[in-house]
């Protein structure tokens, strides 16, 4: 698994809340580090990569499931 500098537990949150949380917290890690977004809302599967594309960060794929919830990896790029 990619080393993650920060894990955001967004389980139980409906979109766009996980994306808002990601936008608020991306600045908490250094450029080049990875944030893991743990989210069980099915919209996150589309919206995390779309947010990365729109905001110029790198979507690094899915991480390990935690308690049945998928996780998404985001590398801060700027």
């Amino acid at each position: 698994m990619t080393d993650s500098a920060l894990v955001l537990d967004c389980r139980g949150m409906r979109c766009p809340l996980p994306i808002i949380e990601l936008a608020r917290r991306i600045g908490d890690v250094a450029v080049g580090e990875v944030v893991t977004v743990l989210a069980d809302d099915p919209a996150a599967a589309s919206d995390v990569p779309a947010w990365c594309r729109m905001r110029g960060h790198e979507y690094a794929g899915t991480g390990e499931d935690v308690g049945g919830a998928p996780s998404y990896l985001v590398r801060r790029r700027h």
Partner: protein, 402 residues
């Protein structure tokens, strides 16, 4: 954030003529009000065409003649022979009968080709029918993905259509993002393989020229300003089709139940009128849609304008706004006098985002689909843009600093 170039909402709308949509109605892709050309025809046909078209006396023959007339008009517009056209109860029913009947004819006693090829962005009626076939006929569904612009790659689609394909389905144009699909490019390949191609033309019929290479074509009258309760199922004469339903002699043995003659004639009248004005309406709508596509990203930060920039339907444009809830956008824009739809998960009964937006890799939340009626004006669109800026700005102000 600038609102320069957007007119103030002072040019208050005048009330529309009887039966027309109000000026802020921007959900034509869901349904349009009755076309003026269809209103009188619907009433006249109710008076003239009420009798049973299957009987042999005078009033029955009149009903039959009106139904045949409706079929001829629709056939001419969609590029079919009149005997290839049947009216259904809806576009969805046309898709269901088209898909199930074509596969039934190709699969006897569980033998025959097994796969149904569909694009990932088909209407849910197509995807649900494919799932139904998988459950009841043992078919497998081959889903072909799309690019960021929502368009299927013709070569990739063709590669998914092989000897084991019972049926291929590719929409004429997408109902959520407006992207036109390369139907004629894949039709030759399907024909060479002997695979029937079903084209869902619900969003394209009456608006743009339709592709010619279909085996089965489906459409829905209320999308072009015909009445609800009328769909179109056209099956080429050389395509094998077997009813998946109990035998019924009505509807040429294709569609069960007593024919809706007034509805069919009004649908045909609306389609002919739409087709005659299609170039002029499309030119006007393209200008308005291009204006929305250009202005939205200038007026607002963090928006994803979705769909192919040029290979698109004239009347439909979709964009998604980061950090916003689609349901809140629909509600607030409604309050401001605008009817739009959204593919965001919070606006769907299943709480899943639009499969079209997801397949395209588009942002699914904060989604707005704008689809213009035939009489939408630049003033309507400018009032809408001002309202979108106001609503998005207000809703985002409710969030903490991002």
């Amino acid at each position: 954030m600038s609102t320069r170039g957007v007119s103030a909402p002072s040019d208050a709308p005048v009330s529309p003529p009887l039966g027309a949509a109000p000026p802020g109605y921007f959900d034509a892709a869901s349904t349009e009000p009755l076309h003026p050309a269809a209103r009188d025809v619907l009433l006249a046909a109710a008076d003239e065409g009420w009798a049973d078209p299957a009987r042999l006396y005078g009033s029955a023959r009149r009903a039959r003649m009106l139904l045949d007339n409706a079929r001829e008009i629709v056939a001419a517009v969609v590029g079919a022979r009149p005997d290839e056209v049947t009216f259904t109860a809806s576009g969805t029913q046309a898709i269901q009968l088209g898909m199930l009947g074509t596969v039934a004819a190709r699969r006897r006693q569980g033998a025959g080709p097994r796969s149904v090829a569909v694009s990932a962005v088909e209407h849910s009626a197509v995807l649900q029918s494919a799932a139904h076939l998988a459950r009841h006929e043992g078919t497998t569904t081959t889903e072909v993905g799309v690019g960021r612009d929502g368009r299927v790659d013709a070569a990739e689609f063709a590669a998914a259509v092989g000897d084991d394909t019972a049926l291929a389905c590719l929409q004429a144009a997408n109902h959520e993002v407006g992207t036109v699909q390369p139907v004629d490019e894949v039709a030759g390949h399907c024909a060479a393989r002997g695979v029937p191609l079903l084209v869902d033309a619900a969003q394209a019929a009456g608006r743009v020229p339709l592709p010619a290479g279909w085996s089965v074509l489906t459409a829905s009258a209320h999308k072009w300003g015909g009445p609800a309760g009328v769909g179109v199922l056209a099956i080429r004469r050389d395509v094998r089709w077997r009813s998946p339903l109990p035998d019924d002699e009505r509807g040429g043995g294709r569609v069960p139940g007593f024919e809706n003659v007034p509805g069919a004639l009004a649908a045909a009248a609306a389609l002919r009128a739409r087709w005659e004005e299609a170039d002029a309406v499309a030119a006007r709508q393209r200008e308005l849609v291009d204006h929305i596509r250009a202005r939205v990203p200038e007026l607002l930060d963090d928006v994803d304008v979705v769909g192919h920039p040029t290979l698109r339907l004239p009347h439909l444009v979709t964009f998604s706004c980061l950090y916003l809830d689609g349901e809140a956008l629909v509600t607030e824009l409604d309050r401001a006098g605008f009817a739009i739809s959204s593919g965001s998960s919070c606006t769907s009964s299943t709480l899943r985002p639009s499969h079209v937006l997801a397949a395209m890799g588009a942002l699914t939340h904060g989604n707005v689909r704008v689809s213009l009626t035939r009489d939408a004006t630049r003033a309507d669109v400018d009032r809408f843009l001002a309202a979108v800026v106001d609503v998005v700005t207000r809703l985002r102000a409710g969030l903490e600093e991002l």
